[in-house]
């Protein structure tokens, strides 16, 4: 509740049948909890995973050191050249066959954030606790949601998805325990309600009323909003306005998406609230992640763009072929070109998110500056199913812990788990080992 003293960190806007969390406002100091780093803003961590490998010839910059130009796939990220770090030679040995035969897709996704080789089984699954969950277990109590898992592609959780490996491995990034994956939320409306609308407070009748009269959830907290605004300084009023505008924008996007969904051919399996357009779906989800970060609702996110091994076509960019079959191009130029186009399309959507993150200011730095977002894949060459020199990019400065703008090349076969150990350090979670780590990654913070 709002008081005349420093605003409580846990203050919310309340109305009849609705509650909205607030972003971090200056008026909350000194009630604000201290974060991991000087400056007071917590570091946010996210993983954005794209499937089926990446065309490395168009991903890897020519030289190590300062990034002066970006290859084709990363060209959409040119405005953020100084905000990204490209890491080379990181490897997941646990994604390799290691005598288990076929199943690179199941292994590479199952091992990506866990650093262990998943058990080859369609029923008796066993993986490892993923790195994001190790962090969430430690710092998650400081936020409403310990972590968020989101995705864009509907995928089953049971069955054999890759040569004897369960769909649980290909269709999840985060693992709470060795046997418990955390399925991603795919429906933007579901994510929205989870983040901003407490279901228990919003009765079915209230929902119906809302839908019927197209009332924004913000209308329910109007009185409280006006009362709060009167007590805020100009900077906080601006922040609050930006924040509430973001919520309203998302609501409007959802309404548009619902209309689009209704016009979609009934052949579509799940026409509920999920936009038909990939880019729109991507933007919706990342917009909500942004607001969740902004409001400190969570500091840990995993985003499985599409499931590993996805055969989704990309008709929106003129590619009717399935993604996965294309990546087994056998070096045919026309097929390789299509793969590159898909990779670039993914990167373009990611660039849109970075733009949003960069536009939000927190105490003289941007939300992107206070984040570290890993964008990458569990395979490098999708044709050969290679697990070394994985395409890995980190966006953001992690509150100053990372010096971006560089391509960093590590020794061959450097475990990806070494990077994750270092990232855990940045999040304030210390572990001696993780997965198949041999130590911490060197040089991330060369300043």
């Amino acid at each position: 509740m709002i008081t005349r003293k420093a605003l409580s960190r846990r203050a919310v806007l309340r109305g009849i049948g609705a509650t909205i969390a607030l972003p971090a406002l200056d008026a909350m100091a000194p009630a604000m909890q201290s974060s991991q780093l000087p400056g007071g803003k917590p570091v946010r961590m996210a993983f954005v995973y794209v499937p089926n490998g990446i065309d490395m010839s168009h991903w890897t910059p020519e030289k190590a050191g300062p990034i002066t130009s970006l290859p084709r796939i990363l060209k959409p990220l040119e405005p953020f050249q100084k905000d990204i770090s490209i890491l080379s030679n990181l490897t997941h040995n646990t994604g390799r066959a290691l005598l288990d035969g076929a199943g690179d897709h199941g292994r590479c996704c199952g091992s990506y954030l866990t650093g262990v080789q998943p058990r080859k089984s369609a029923v008796d699954i066993q993986c490892g606790v993923s790195m994001d969950q190790l962090v969430a277990n430690e710092i998650g109590k400081k936020t409403r949601f310990a972590s968020l898992e989101v995705g864009l592609e509907d995928a089953r959780q049971a069955g054999d998805c890759d040569s004897g490996y369960s769909c649980a491995y290909t269709n999840n990034l985060a693992w709470r325990s060795e046997t418990q994956p955390l399925p991603p939320v795919l429906d933007p409306r579901m994510l929205f309600e989870r983040l901003f609308g407490q279901n228990a407070d919003l009765s079915p009748e209230a929902r119906t009323r809302q839908a019927k009269y197209r009332k924004s959830i913000l209308d329910y907290v109007r009185t409280d909003t006006q009362r709060l605004e009167g007590k805020l300084g100009p900077t906080d009023r601006r922040k609050l306005d930006e924040y509430l505008s973001s919520i309203r924008e998302i609501e409007m996007q959802l309404e548009r998406a619902e209309k689009d969904t209704r016009r979609i051919d009934p052949m579509m399996e799940k026409p509920y609230g999920i936009p038909a357009d990939f880019a729109e779906h991507f933007k919706l989800m990342t917009d909500m992640i942004t607001v969740a970060f902004q409001a400190d609702l969570t500091r840990v996110v995993t985003f499985l763009v599409t499931r590993e091994g996805s055969s989704r076509p990309y008709r929106e960019i003129g590619i009717p072929d399935g993604h996965h079959p294309l990546t087994h191009h056998m070096n045919k130029p026309d097929l390789m070109e299509k793969v590159t186009q898909i990779n670039t399309y993914h990167a373009t959507q990611f660039g849109g998110w970075l733009e949003k993150m960069k536009s939000i200011q927190e105490d003289g730095a941007s939300l992107l500056d206070n984040s570290m977002i890993v964008y990458g894949a569990g395979l490098s060459d999708g044709n050969k199913h290679t697990h070394e020199d994985l395409p890995t990019l980190i966006a953001g400065r992690a509150g100053g812990a990372i010096k971006p703008g560089l391509r960093r090349v590590y020794r061959r076969e450097t475990p990806m788990s070494n990077l994750f150990l270092s990232m855990m350090d940045i999040m304030g979670v210390h572990a001696e080992n993780f997965g198949d780590s041999t130590g911490r990654i060197a040089g991330l913070d060369l300043a």
């Binding site: 040995n93 005598l99 590590y410 076969e413 198949d436 041999t438």
Partner: protein, 262 residues
């Protein structure tokens, strides 16, 4: 990770040496790669205890000569062995070396650990001829000890190495000094390298001297053909025959992997 009933690959050899310091190591690696090309074994990890790019690069030269799936070369970063040697210089003369910086190499202990994870139980022999730095680091790597216990059949110590890292699990074999006459002379071997006159071993033979220790060579024979060669009672005549045949031989085109009878 075992896949019961699956095909068992050739015996894996982890080769760790102060590579380039002596002819024995070069001879051993030449023999190893020759037997690998015949699918009698598989060089699954190659590492040098010398912080020397030429030493690491020479491993790569051998891999290119003999084909097969190349492995990342491990190189210690410990300040030791930075200086080159006449043998190393001779071996590298005229070669195209792609190892240009430490980034072109791998951490030896992690590399060896990874190689072990891809092997069936008891299917690996480690041949170590130099300082124990890399194996020491391996032993202390998190969760590496269980891999060593299950995968390694024996650790062969040859050349300058006589003592395994403390706490090393499993069988350790200290290779006795074998009579130098085990090796055929340079006159017998060099002509056989006519398929590649710049072969590193052939070039090193010309400067290495007529006699040299052969512990590493004996270790390779014992590890790969245990039924034919025993370190306790080495059949010198048979060994010379094999070495004369295999060392200078041009590698045959790679066949599908199989384990021929020994």
């Amino acid at each position: 990770m075992q896949f019961p009933g699956g095909f068992k690959p050739p015996h894996g050899i982890v080769f760790d040496a102060a590579f380039g310091d002596n002819l024995d190591d070069l001879a051993a690696l030449t023999l190893l790669m020759g037997l690998d090309a015949k699918n009698e074994c598989r060089a699954i990890s190659l590492s040098t205890t010398k912080e020397n790019l030429g030493s690491a690069g020479l491993f790569e030269v051998f891999q290119k000569l003999y084909g097969g799936r190349p492995v990342a070369v491990g190189m210690a970063v410990n300040g030791h062995g930075k200086a080159t040697t006449p043998i190393l210089d001779a071996a590298l003369a005229g070669q195209t070396v792609s190892v240009q910086s430490v980034l072109d190499t791998a951490e030896p202990h992690g590399n060896i650990r990874n190689a072990l994870t891809g092997q069936p139980d008891g299917n690996v022999s480690i041949i170590a001829t130099g300082p124990m730095d890399n194996l020491q680091a391996l032993l202390h790597l998190y969760k590496a000890k269980p891999w060593i216990e299950s995968k390694v059949k024996a650790l062969y110590l040859a050349g300058g190495a006589t003592k395994a890292p403390e706490g090393w699990p499993g069988k350790v074999v200290v290779v006795p000094q074998i009579d130098a006459e085990l090796m055929p002379g340079a006159d017998a071997l060099v002509p056989g390298f006519s398929w590649n006159e710049k072969h590193p071993f052939a070039q090193a033979l010309k400067v290495g001297g007529a006699k040299y220790s052969t512990g590493a060579v004996a270790a390779v024979l014992a590890a790969v053909r245990p039924n034919a060669f025993s370190l306790d009672k080495m059949n010198v005549e048979e060994a010379r025959k094999v070495l004369t045949e295999v060392l200078p031989a041009k590698p045959a085109p790679r066949m599908r992997p199989g384990r021929p009878p020994v």
